[in-house]
């Protein structure tokens, strides 16, 4: 006996109507669970951002004079940003493909997404070593602490997303997804988009603002 044996009024004009649905037309349990989880993740990052803006407001000048030219928005970090944003597109193409039951395109796109995610992490790791070389460390005052906490926790989330994507690729290769059965793919793609959006906010706030 499962949840599906209970009928429930369908949600036809819901804003999430395009997402994976269960047999009665409602949003599926895994996708709803992921959306709620992302909501809680937003609050987690909100806490860190609160600390960031607090530190920024109470420490002038920001950035401190010795790090005035450390965080340059053009360069390696822009490449990393383009890679992560692109991965959101390939991820969505994968979801669209499996909805058409095009497994080949699905595997291809989700694998590219996985690779792009790994490349982003490698670039970020390399960037950390460069920054450390320039003296920007966790202990370099609130500027360094907030920078590494925010980007570090974002990186940890990318890492979590990469693991989820690896599971999707593995199960996809085993042929476990189809146009009727792809809740996991959809849930993971939502998480991946969320991680991407957090990065866009981080990149804008830390490098441009």
């Amino acid at each position: 006996m499962t949840a599906d044996s209970h009928a429930l009024a369908t949600v036809e004009h819901s804003p999430v109507a395009g997402l994976a649905h269960d047999q009665r037309g409602g949003i599926s349990n895994p996708v709803l669970g992921m959306l709620l989880f992302i909501t809680s993740e937003v609050m987690f990052f909100a806490g860190l951002f609160a600390a960031y803006f607090n530190a920024r407001a109470s420490n002038a000048p920001w950035p401190p004079t010795e790090f005035e030219h450390t965080l340059e928005p053009i360069g390696l970090i822009l490449v990393a940003t383009i890679i992560l944003v692109s991965s959101s597109f390939t991820c969505q193409w994968a979801v669209n493909a499996i909805k058409r039951n095009d497994r080949k395109m699905f595997i291809r796109n989700i694998s590219v997404t996985l690779v792009l995610g790994v490349v982003f992490l490698l670039l970020q790791g390399y960037d950390y070593t460069v920054l450390y070389g320039e003296g920007l460390t966790m202990t370099a005052g609130p500027f360094g602490t907030t920078y590494f906490t925010l980007t570090g926790f974002h990186g940890a989330h990318v890492f979590g997303g990469v693991i989820m994507l690896a599971v999707v690729v593995y199960r996809g290769m085993a042929g476990q997804f189809s146009d009727r059965h792809h809740d996991l793919v959809e849930a993971v793609s939502l998480y991946w988009h969320f991680v991407d959006v957090v990065w866009i906010v981080l990149y804008s706030v830390l490098y441009w603002l």
Partner: protein, 546 residues
Amino acid sequence: MATHALTPAVTAGYRGGLYEWLTTTDHKRIGILYVINSFAFFFIAGLMALAVRAELAQPGLQLLTDEHLYNQLFTMHATLMIFLFIIPMLAGLGNFAVPLQIGAPDMAFPRINALSFWMLPLAGVLLLAGFVTGGAAAAGWTSYPPLTEDRPLASTGSGQDLWIVGVVLIGTSSILGAINFLVTIFKMRAPGMTLFRMPIMVWTMLVTSVLVMLATPVITSALIMLFIDRNLGGNFFDPATGGNAVLYQNVFWFYSHPAVYVMVLPAMGIISEVLPVFSRKPLFGYKAFVFATAGIGALGFSVWAHHMFTTGAVFLPFFALITFMISVPTGVKMFNWVATLWGGQLTFSTPLIFAIGFLTMFLIGGINGAFSAAVPVDFALHDTYWVVAHLHYVLFGGSVFGVFAGVYYWFPKMTGRLLDEGLGKIHFVLMFVGFNLTFFPMHMLGLAGMPRRIADYASSAGWNDWNLAATIGGFMIGASFVPFLWNVFVSLRNGKVAGDDPWEGNTLEWATSSPPPPYNFDHLPEIRSERPVFDLRHGREAGGSH
């Protein structure tokens, strides 16, 4: 109806041995595991409270001559009571009750449900491990920097780091549990179970879960920043390096004030189940109650700074005003409960008595809370025993009485046996008298200026008598659990067989066997009101509106 409901064996619904219990994904078993685990930590935290009270009985240091140990004990008392007793206990009762009450076969994510539970004993071990690694956390459950920073006289040991990791783990468990409740409630309701036919218990778990989902990640961020400051040389909270100590308090209380509603709303849900059943009336003003619950949840996010009035860093009129406003929806609920009892055909069974204990004690806790919301009053009473009195009147007088109302109410559904009424009433009287003897004098101590979190006081301060009274009361509370545990012990073996519906209940859990079979229902009655089992019993065609 399930045929094996007629089997009198206590374990009718629970087959298999220890291995099945440890690996279960059945929400009923997980709920019971939550309850057992929570009672175990309640016991440990209760012993810590007794040690604290024993030390405070008289001026001078008698029992805990090492004041640092005293600090560890009151810190761990609060931490365990909040994070490993009240919150998981209510989550556990919800885990047992919610799927049954909405006519679902289980929670939406049974394996995540098991994961949520098993994080708790692990976190408890981490928290307590501090005692054998050079001292547990000792900076109070709030763990404010600079008390928690690496400096002399502070809570510097690895115990504080274990505390951070343990609480983050419990928070993760809560978040996963909350998501599970929300998906279950939104997606798994039986046909006919519309939102406004859901039992109030389900509504309170819904609002509680929203609070957990939105607030708990924020304390996770606060604790992670604290961890970074302590271990990785971060500069979040130390003003000497550009940090801001009050920032921690803001982020901490942004969680910890909504958390007090996490600790009390489900208890309100429990007594809103108990009062109608034992008054033979529907809950007065069902919809008003639902909106009041949502209102408390919403306002709860805008009052956190009333814990920080004396920092001088918060906008006092706003937070005082919103804090006063919280008493409006709470007052609506008081009115709902009293009007439910009014003119009812009351049966003074143990669950009802504990529910009335909740009503009366929570009322005192609400009034002394609104009193402290006035800024000038708060400036005088901040960090005195008045605050200790207030928080125990809401958390013990409110939540714990509510928990026991729930335990006595659902014990027959969980086990198939009724608890003994006589022992239950002895338990109540001892706990009620002991509770008031312990915590009422703390109002006087607070008004007389006694600060909280001290191990010793001068005998000339005039606090001796009230402290002695509070200690006697504390041991009375401790003694009240002897009849309770004995009651559980004998009732599991020889208790009266409950049958499906011993209380003539209203909600769906009483439409299945006691204990319910795996996946809960063989078939469901038609649901046309918020009291489907009442409708079924009285052959109503339609439940009518509220």
